[in-house]
Symmetry: C2
Subunit: 216 residues, 2 copies
DNA sequence: TCGATAACTGACTACCAGTCAGTCACTGAC
DNA sequence: GTCAGTGACTGACTGGTAGTCAGTTATCGA
């Protein structure tokens, strides 16, 4: 009996070790650059063993991303303290989100890959269901702040919180996607541009769009 | 002499045939799903021959995307007719862009792949330089309309046209990225949502943010 | 002591972008 | 007419990577 418990602990520890290695490699090489062989080597296991812990590469990455979202969500929640209005809260939530993507660009790239080329990613695994749930939790923070803003009058009354939260999130994704690759983007986009400005500019636009002041 | 001219014509025709095949396959299978072997088979050439016309897969895809942008730009320009104000023009430009992505989702996926995982894409080829130029032309339309809007008073005077055009474009990319995969997204994003609403909602937010009415 | 079980291994398959030595067909000079 | 030169084309091959699976090893309980 105690044996089973110990085995369970060992299994969990090994799983965490794999996640640590995968996370580090994704951080260094990006989602596509991360190789299952490299993960195996890093944890001193054979590649086959990885597949005893994760169904496939995508599931492993989803598990890494889930662990990161477990950090992001409390981080975003901390932004809600000392907010004067719901509108202010929305602004600060996304500010935190932006900070997080700067610290964890690899996580963001994974999320993007999932959203943009999802057809090629196997999201039928349990790991993905859990990940999906976390994304929902994150979006709920935005929805709640939008409602709060409508209650305190800082956000237009005709805003529909759920669709608007998705609009905020998805548009933000696009901006951060480009801002994240700003070094490469400077050569890539054929216009002179300081990409540092982009996120603040977008947040400002979002606040203006939501604000009850000057509403039609 | 005439031989050289004929050879040149034949070469161009073959190049176009390859582009046609590649475009169709990218449309059907997506950027990642398109196989160089499939393109070769479709044009009844060996794979090696493709590499006499295009440096690599990415360059071929960039050439496909360039051809599509050659269609998009006049299409967007046509939106400028019968626009009452610069603000209205910006709105209609993006509306056309949205329409185009619905018709040519594959092109958009390629652009996304380029922007989001650009490190892994070889964008040093000539085909990419040309593509970059087209993206710049497209953005110029937005910049010009923003300036027009400031001149006619429909857009806030404190908007900096070039950064704002990038903010509009990049945020739009995020929204369209999600909207494009709305079938998959319905299961993927853990909230009930009619993704058809998303683009109009975003355009509305952008117009509100740019509008000189109610400006602080 | 030994059969059962879980954990692990690594050589293997399948797949795909890109390469290159060699073939083929046409051309123009002689 | 011949034949060397040239450009177009070929397809078997390389290299790299995700995922598989038959077999090995270690540990456990009876």
């Amino acid at each position: 009996m105690a044996v089973a418990a110990r085995r369970e602990r060992e299994r969990t520890a090994r799983r965490e070790a794999i996640l640590d290695a995968a996370q580090e490699l994704v951080a260094a090489q990006g989602y596509h650059g991360m190789r299952m062989d490299s993960v195996a080597e890093a944890v001193e296991l054979s590649k086959g063993t990885l597949y005893l812990y994760f169904e496939n590469k995508d599931a492993l990455c989803a598990a890494v991303a889930t662990r990161l979202l477990d950090t992001l969500i409390p981080f975003m929640e901390s932004a809600l303290e000392n907010t004067s209005t719901g509108l202010d809260a929305v602004h600060k939530l996304f500010q935190k989100y932006s900070d997080f993507t700067q610290e964890n660009p690899h996580h963001f790239r994974f999320a993007l890959a999932w959203l943009s080329e999802g057809e090629r990613m196997d999201d039928s695994t349990e790991a993905f269901q859990i990940y999906r749930g976390r994304v929902g939790d994150m979006l709920s923070l935005v929805v709640a702040s939008l409602k709060r803003g409508q209650a305190d009058g800082s956000i237009r009354a005709d805003v529909d919180p759920l669709p608007q939260a998705l609009q905020l999130w998805t548009s933000f994704l696009g901006v951060v996607m480009v801002g994240l690759n700003r070094e490469a983007m400077a050569q890539r986009v054929p216009v002179p541009m300081d990409f540092e400005q982009l996120v603040p500019l977008h947040l400002d636009a979002m606040v203006r769009a939501l604000s009850s002041e000057g509403a039609s």
